[in-house]
Amino acid sequence: METNTGTNRPRINWLKYASPKTFYPLAGKLIPWCAVSAAVLIAYGLYIGLLVAPTDFQQGEGYRIIFVHVPAAWFSMFLYLLMAMYAGLGLVLNARLSYMMATAIAPTGAMFTLIALVTGSLWGKPMWGAWWVWDARLTSELILLFLYIGYFSLQAAIDDKNRADKASAVLALVGAINVPIIYFSVKWWNTLHQGASVSLTQAPAMAAIMLKGMLIMAVGFWLYSIAVILMRVRCEILERDSKTAMIRQD
């Protein structure tokens, strides 16, 4: 056996997945796994959140909206950063797949932002006494929604795909500054919105079973995001590369 020839060394060439041609089938294989585990985890998270977790000492049963609200808000911010990162990679490396990923992430991020805003509004009325207030947290989250909408509107407004990608990538990168503002708004300014119950630096300010439900929901949302983003990126690949040989082979 000749092991040191270098040609058949078992090294995986990760970069090959940066090409739409090889990424397309890989994404196809990942989608069902992510989708099924997302469904299971979200169902389990809702079960814990709505049935197992105890009532809250001050908000009673009404606090249970947290199991959707907080994970949705996390992913509204996280997906924006991810989108901005892919947009930045696209600009630097001129990698088409990066732009396609950024394009595919935007609608899911916008959806989570909308869910966070709507559930927050429904939660605000009974607890605070108002559907909406213009405090720093709520306002900056609303700006996030506008950034997402602006991102895919700008992309749709320019016919030349190449230019559309570049213009919207710049918008995505500039808008990324809003994410830390959302996150730290409750620390930096007086807001009606309360501070973070769960953060990386402090012990969580909530009972363990409540935290468990929320984290399971978050993982479920993550897997859901991966599944739909991969589906969308596959569509994007097909749409953009419809004239290349790869598709004609299939």
């Binding site: 809250d56 000492f57 947290i66």
Partner: protein, 149 residues
């Protein structure tokens, strides 16, 4: 230097400038980004003199008075250093309680009474079952007893 290094450099410099600009902007708008003023800030005259603004703090223990007409309420908002009397006509949110957070919007009249047009409850970020809250309260009560001794 390859073209992609140049592009990376341009983007990095752009982002750094953007961060600096944002920090400067948010710093200069600091007062406008404040959702409410504390009683101490109002005392110092940091709150707007005319027009309506919001005050925030805790509802002082034992200060809540419901008027006989059943609609008007009076209470004091405190930040434990200073407190401001507030008058309000309307329905209070469910979480409104003595010793809990509150944000009231309205005007300060010439007698130093804050006439609120809207009262919002501000709750904290703690979530726990009622039994746990009761246990913590009992533990705190025992601690204060101990320190009094």
């Amino acid at each position: 230097m390859k073209a992609r290094h140049k592009r990376f450099g341009l983007i990095a410099v752009g982002l750094i400038l953007l961060v600096i600009a944002t920090v400067l902007i948010t710093k200069s708008f600091r007062s406008n980004l404040v959702f409410f003023f504390s009683p101490t800030q109002v005392e110092k005259g940091e709150a707007p003199k005319t027009g309506s603004f919001r005050i925030g703090g805790l509802v002082e223990n034992g200060s809540l008075k419901r008027m006989p007409d059943g609609l008007h309420v009076q209470f004091k908002v405190t930040d434990t250093a200073k407190s401001i009397p507030v008058q309000y006509k309307g329905i209070l949110p469910d979480l409104f309680k003595e010793g809990k957070g509150v944000v009231a919007e309205g005007k300060l009249n010439e007698n130093g009474l804050f006439e609120a047009s809207q009262v919002l409850a501000k709750h904290d970020e703690n979530y726990m079952p009622p039994e746990a809250a009761a246990a913590i309260e009992a533990a705190n009560a025992a601690k204060t007893k101990e320190s009094v001794k």
